[in-house]
Symmetry: C2
Subunit: 209 residues, 2 copies
Amino acid sequence: MKKQKISDAVIHRLPRYYRYLDDLYNKGVVRISSSSLGDKMDITASQIRQDLSCFGEFGQQGYGYNVAELRAEIGHILGIDNGHRLIIIGVGHLGHALLQNFDFEKVGFQVDSAFDVSPALVDTQIRGVTIRPMDQLAEYVARYQPNVAVLTVPQNVAQPLADQLIDLGIRGFWNFTNVELSTEVPGVFFEDVHFVDTLLTLSYRISRG
Amino acid sequence: MKKQKISDAVIHRLPRYYRYLDDLYNKGVVRISSSSLGDKMDITASQIRQDLSCFGEFGQQGYGYNVAELRAEIGHILGIDNGHRLIIIGVGHLGHALLQNFDFEKVGFQVDSAFDVSPALVDTQIRGVTIRPMDQLAEYVARYQPNVAVLTVPQNVAQPLADQLIDLGIRGFWNFTNVELSTEVPGVFFEDVHFVDTLLTLSYRISRG
DNA sequence: TAGATTGTTAATCGATTAACAATC
DNA sequence: TAGATTGTTAATCGATTAACAATC
């Protein structure tokens, strides 16, 4: 096992490994070799072994990898068992879609609460999560200390809101607004989901492909 | 200008360039140099110039780039002016969110129609787009020949639906289901939006950061 | 045991950065 | 003109692939 900085390229492949292993696991597959996993995922066996070697030794010569075990190991590397607690800010159509359909528990996140400005939504529940008014946000975060916030709010309020939440202790942002967020505070991470970028990539490919 | 295969790394930076240039354009900025754009975007001036050189010469020595012009050029490279026409399949919370909030026109896509199985939704309109029943999908696509489909449907129907739509002429898929789609047919492109992957990346970072 | 497959080192390939002549 | 900044070539850096000894 090499102990060094993990490259972004490797980090971005980890969730994909996890998805494939989870799928194999659910199908009851017991073992898999790097080469057959590579075939499925359309990458080289070498790359899989090289990637995994950043984190430890999970296989066995002549056998390959135990699916359940490797799935659990990668889940652990990804922090799935770290008990993250999150809040959803903005329960418009998108926030609603996430609350209703996204399986947060499966990837180790507990949804503590949701917040919205709309009086019609406040005090209603979606899938057991209570929607609270925005003006209770600061107090709530200060008291219950969730560590992640999902931002499904209008663009213009995103950065000031993030700044406020960072002060209150939020350390991760799953950002669905179309602006890139940033902060000077160390140890805070943003994951920006830019819908526009992926649609434009598609546009590029069908235009030139 | 080098004429060769454009790498994925470059392609994935193009939408981000476009976003920044669009922002500068809207702010009325007239010119920008590769170094000041690099500062804003937190990448090197060299990389910007190298990337752009794949597609042509858009700057001027001693001056830099004209913002409006470069924005238009990159938009053109991305195929924004190609008159893409798309349909949305599945008008649950997510499909609804896209229909209601996403500015398709701004990136060169016209929303022709939407489809859903729910009788309650059929024949209603969202932002001027009529929702049609799923059993009219094949006939509609065959007749009106849209080229892109947005998939916001349950996982298990995604691949067979995609296969059917490819037969009918769809060439690009903006796929929001959590499965990776594929096809043998050449010239068909999938852009998978894996929410799970980005949330897991965030989990990794806050767990180790 | 023999065959299969790992983890790791070395080789290759590609992407990023630096440098600079050309020139607006 | 002098200063600024491009487009491009060369140098560097990092990521992917290949190869193979170790070993289950």
